[in-house]
């Protein structure tokens, strides 16, 4: 009758063990193919320019990036170390999506609280979300200066979609759960804290995933224009002096940063959702 009296049979049957082996093999094949695909891409990137099938000046190649990377590690009076650039980009991204999450949740809660506010602001939010925020890079630079404009872009690019996603998550809470809380005499604040917010954790995680990627875009685009620090700046600099090694090293590190963020968020998601 109960799902809890788990269906685990004491000595596993041979059929079960065979099934388990098949599952594991399937998992292993997926992982191996993923790594293989990465290896093939890197190999093509290395071989095609060297065989002069594509122009190496335009694409560079992986084995050239490592010496460039070591070279960029050194900080000179003219140029900061690549680690400093990476840190600047990561910091701005983290500040951007953290800010977007906090501000987005607060605004979504306010819209949930005052229905009229939502009715008034709805079209503005939809338009603000659809606007290409990167058009504001020069404006932010003039308004906020070199560093703050990047934080601003990182926030601006992700905050509107966050508001819309979280608000729609709040709206998706089962009204009967709210009715249940009301039968116990819950105040609006209690409904928000005990029903709506905890019930929206999956939405918050989904918003975080979208935000982390968007904020990184905002930061890099901001750095193209206004910074003298950060991976976006480094890529722009490399392109201007036509050193593709520098550009590709910057891009590769961006790929690594994205992967690490993805892994961190996946880990957070698993940790949070294990309780559900």
């Amino acid at each position: 009758m109960s799902k809890v009296e788990a269906l685990t049979v004491a000595p596993p049957s041979p059929q079960y063990l065979a099934w388990l082996a098949r599952e594991r093999r399937g998992y292993f094949i997926v992982r191996a193919t993923q790594l293989g695909l990465l290896a093939v891409l890197l190999l093509l990137w290395e071989v095609l320019p060297k065989a002069l099938i594509v122009n190496p000046v335009l694409t560079s190649y992986p084995s050239a990036l490592w010496p460039t990377f070591l070279d960029l590690l050194k900080s000179t009076p003219q140029q900061a170390s690549i680690l400093t650039h990476t840190w600047a980009t990561v910091l701005a991204t983290v500040l951007g999506f953290t800010g977007a999450m906090v501000l987005g949740t607060a605004v979504a809660a306010a819209l949930w609280w005052w229905k009229t506010l939502y009715q008034v602001l709805d079209p503005y939010l939809v338009v603000a979300n659809a606007m290409p925020k990167t058009a504001f890079v020069p404006i932010f630079y003039i308004w906020l200066g070199a560093t703050l404009s990047i934080y601003g872009m990182s926030l601006a690019i992700s905050v509107f979609i966050t508001i819309l996603m979280i608000y729609s998550g709040f709206q998706g809470i089962d009204p009967n759960k709210i009715k249940l809380a009301q039968t116990f005499g819950a105040t609006k604040g209690q409904i928000l804290r005990k029903v709506v917010l905890p019930g929206s954790v999956p939405t918050l995680l989904a918003a975080l995933k979208v935000n982390a990627g968007l904020s990184l875009v905002g930061v890099v685009v901001g750095e193209f224009q206004s910074a003298n620090l950060g991976l976006g700046y480094l890529i722009q600099y490399g392109a201007q002096i036509f050193k593709m090694n520098i550009v590709m090293t910057g891009v590769t590190i961006l790929a690594v940063v994205s992967s690490v963020m993805y892994l961190a968020i996946s880990w957070l998601e698993t940790a949070v959702m294990r309780r559900r």
Partner: protein, 267 residues
Amino acid sequence: MAAPASAATPKVELRNVNLRYFGLEGETEALKDVSISIAPGEFVAIIGQSGCGKSTLLSLISGILMPTDGTVLLDGKPVTGPSRKVGYMLQQDYLFEWRTILENAVLGAEIQGADMAKARERAAALLTRYGLGQFLRHLPRQLSGGMRQRVALARTLCTEPDVVLLDEPFAALDSQTRLALSDEIAVILRREKKTAILVTHDIGEAVSMAERVIVLSRRPGRVKSDHAIRFAGAHGTRPTPLAARNSAEFNGYFNALWQELEVHVEG
């Protein structure tokens, strides 16, 4: 302090209650001139076809909805909002999937700002009595439908209400679980001397569980008739719902109510 409600004061009373829902397309009349009086400790079932305003009636008694006209009284005092004396069991358990079974059961106490240590003790005792003692730290998704509905009952009774409202609380269950659980819940509510109001469209459920069945007409809901359900039980005590279903009187009541409901199968 107000004078204690005397034995003559009804526990719950509705006086000429009208309720209309407002929409941009117009008003919908859900309840019309409904007057019902329920004595302390009574177990009343309200039956009627879907959309006749049965659930609306419970929302009015629980104070989450105010009547358009008329008064709802609890212990002789007008209802102005949700009261701690009233517990409400909804059609489904609506357990919060992010809370453990015990945390779900103390939700009401937590919202009402009660002493949480005592509430946890009471909830654990209730859950243990309902056969869920070993699942206190489990999550709702690990439990079957019948177990989840028992958690919902513990959540309702943990705040120690005098009046328990049941809005088709067995509708989502399979038929065996439904019979067993309605039997269990009726026995529990009688033993604890709660005033109970059960809303259902299941005639058998109403006759077997309640000592009084009120029939509501089609929309707008009006009180159509009021039946006392008596079984010639041993020592004048009421048989349990399962036993009542096997008694001589059951079919007579069932048929009378069936006629009243004027069930027409459309199409």
